[in-house]
Amino acid sequence: MEQPLRERALPRDTVFNEMLGPDGTPRPHYATLCAWLDEQPARILKRKRAEAESIFRRLGITFSVYTGSEARTADTLERLIPFDLIPRILSAREWRLLERGIEQRVRALNSFLLDIYHRQEIIRAGRIPAEVILMNEAYCVEMIGHRPPLGVFSHIIGTDIVRTGEDDFFVLEDNMRTPSGVSYMLENREAMLHLFPELFAAHQVAPVQHYPELLRQTLEAVSPVAPEETTLAVLTPGIHNSAYFEHSFLADQMGAELVEGHDLFVDEAALYMRTTRGPQRVHVLYRRIDDDFLDPLTFRPDSALGVPGLMDLYRAGRVTIVNAPGAGIADDKAIYSWVPEIVEFYTGEKPILKNVPTWRCAEPEALAYVLDHLPELVVKEVHGSGGYGMLVGPTASKKQIAQFRKVLKARPKNYIAQPTLALSACPAFTQAGVAPRHVDLRPFSLVSDRVRLVAGGLTRVALKKGSLVVNSSQGGGTKDTWVLSE
């Protein structure tokens, strides 16, 4: 007799279970999947899991891990991101809410970016203190007065969303610079279609496969020349970058050239790539390297990844850089807490998606509260794209908290604090069978002549029991995300 596959019991805490309602019965949009799961013997799922792993490995869908050990070559360090077989399902109603909220937010943040590099109305109106913007390291003075095509700075955005209840969705991060992960969204769907065709037959799952087409349309819409005359290139730091697979995947799917910095050069008139036929002009550069490395003549002089002279050419409108330099300030943690103000200021509407409550440690009252409640808070450093110099109160030792207290007191302006959220849980296939695990969601939106969004996104799941950390570097995995049509 096989063990019952699915954990029936609900966790005793207040975690929102996306599949099961409070009485333990499945929510309507999960009913078919739940019944199907109950019928699956564990050995079938195990076999499917092995099959999925071999699909990903054969296709080379790997990411690189850096260990600092020089004896090993990069090739020995390719890892798979764990893939969880059980899809996460969002109802049409849930998705409508997310879609409206994301579109509102990415439009507002793009208006904000255009404004702060031009008339700075939001500062004049006294809605955000000038120093929060102008003293921010991510504020790019080279962009002052420059209007990119269609006034769009951030064309490709990955909005990180977490959920704590039926209609309680929070934006955790806006990722306005070079968000990654979309290739996993697409390949996860391919793998699921291959592994479980019968589940797709039983559900109306909105497609995601047209994302590369939407991306191409988005990039062509901001080209300095007509779409049909546009040459697109994806700029990668190279084969050793952790997201190289994604760079090459997207270039391929769009029919664009995948280039490295040394494949490119500029003259007064244009950006060129070095082809076997000689120089060929590039009109739109989808760069997957940071601002700092784009152009050694403008930014970091030691950068070998970028193209000398690129920024002058860009400002002259001869080439479009996507996302625009300077877009990163919109996802800076020092700006994050102001986003509700930003949405209201530029759209005249109330924000549809909530922000996580945030204490700005620069403000004395907030700082006092944070210092009193360190063991229950997450404290994050502002600037940069995250992951460094943060404190996760609930899992930190007393010593770590004491140390962090000193750092925080010394430079309170560098920090914000947020409560630890009880992330919603979805069924995952674990060693112990099917059990709820915490998840987040990164839908990808595309902004140029209009906002384009595919229904779904990348769901990341914390595969360790009780863990809230969904990062792939710390035991996180991914899942296919299904948005059902009505």
Partner: protein, 317 residues
């Protein structure tokens, strides 16, 4: 197509061809080492094999002694040897990964599966009993890759660059094998005794998998000058210099046609091709077989330099 991409397609194919050739060389070397008292003994044979593989200096830097075990390990697995089977397959895959988007799925999966399986093979596991199976496996995998390439890839410029890589490598390999043992093939070679010479000649033919096809073409016992002719001038022998340049000539023409112009590479291919078409073995022996082979290897090397310059392989150049 980016020049850097063309370069990666060229090197991907070239390294796959090299892995295959090294496996063949190793197979021939291993076989003769099992034969008692050949020539200067099995040590001499491994030295010849290392020379044919073009890795003799690297071997000497890594090992003091020549032994069968060391030589096999060096040829197959040693990462200090840039031409070992492991290094070659890894380099082929790295280049393939760079140009993933230019490969068909069949090509990528073939190459990647090979590389994944190779990760599980350790030099320690390579006993004499398992070596022949492993060498077979390498040949099967490289053959499968070639089949995937020829069967699925678009005949666009990328295809031509890959063919340049494969056939320049093959020509170089055959020329080296001949040059290391050229003295055995001279018409005035002083025979040291029937059986031993036959083993030596057979080793040369085995290194290019031609010991059976020789008999199909010549219907007679091994004769040294015939072996030289077979591997240099015969167009029906798929690893002969002539065959390689027949293929390269078609490749160069195809590329020129696609580009609507000839670049210096085309002329270089044509002149070597003409040389092979017009030469006779008598004249080659008269002018010196060794000199002929050295000149050929040099021409073939110059072709790599010329191709890289004509099609902007190196973005920093």
């Amino acid at each position: 197509m980016l020049g850097r991409v063309a370069a990666s397609l060229f090197w991907m194919s070239r390294y796959m061809e090299r892995a295959e050739n090294i496996a063949r060389l190793c197979e021939a070397g291993f076989r003769i080492s099992l034969t008692p008292k050949v020539g200067g003994g099995y040590k001499e044979e491994w030295l010849s094999t290392l020379r044919s593989a073009g890795v003799f200096d690297a071997y000497q830097a890594a090992h003091e002694e020549v032994s069968g075990e060391n030589a096999i390990n060096f040829l197959l697995f040693d990462e200090r040897n840039p031409s070992s089977v492991r290094s070659s397959l890894t380099a082929a895959r790295t280049n393939a990964r760079i140009v993933r988007t230019k490969l068909t799925r069949d090509m990528w999966e073939s190459l990647n599966d090979t590389w994944i399986a190779l990760q599980a093979v350790s030099p320690q596991s390579m006993s004499n009993a398992r070596l022949p199976d492993f060498l077979d496996w390498v040949r099967h995998r490289t053959a499968q890759f070639r089949g995937a390439l020829l069967g699925t890839v678009l005949r666009d410029e990328g295809y031509y660059f890959s063919q340049f890589g494969a056939f320049m490598e093959r020509a170089d390999n055959t020329a080296r094998i001949l040059d290391v043992k050229y003295y055995l093939l001279l018409p005035d070679h002083q025979s040291v005794g029937g059986a031993i010479d036959t083993y030596q000649w057979e080793t040369i033919l085995r290194a290019v998998s031609a010991h059976r096809s020789y008999r199909h073409v010549f219907h007679e016992d091994y004769r040294p000058w015939r072996i030289a002719e077979f591997l240099i001038l015969r167009p029906e022998m798929p690893r002969s210099l002539r065959y390689c340049y027949d293929w390269l000539a078609v490749t160069a023409e195809g590329l020129s046609e696609r580009y609507g112009e000839e670049r210096p590479t085309a002329e270089l291919v044509r002149s070597t091709h003409q040389l092979l078409k017009q030469s006779e073995m008598g004249a080659i022996f008269q002018d010196g077989l060794h000199e002929f082979l050295t000149d050929f290897i040099d021409r073939n090397n110059r072709l790599t330099v010329s191709l890289a310059a004509d099609y902007y392989f190196d973005p920093t150049a």
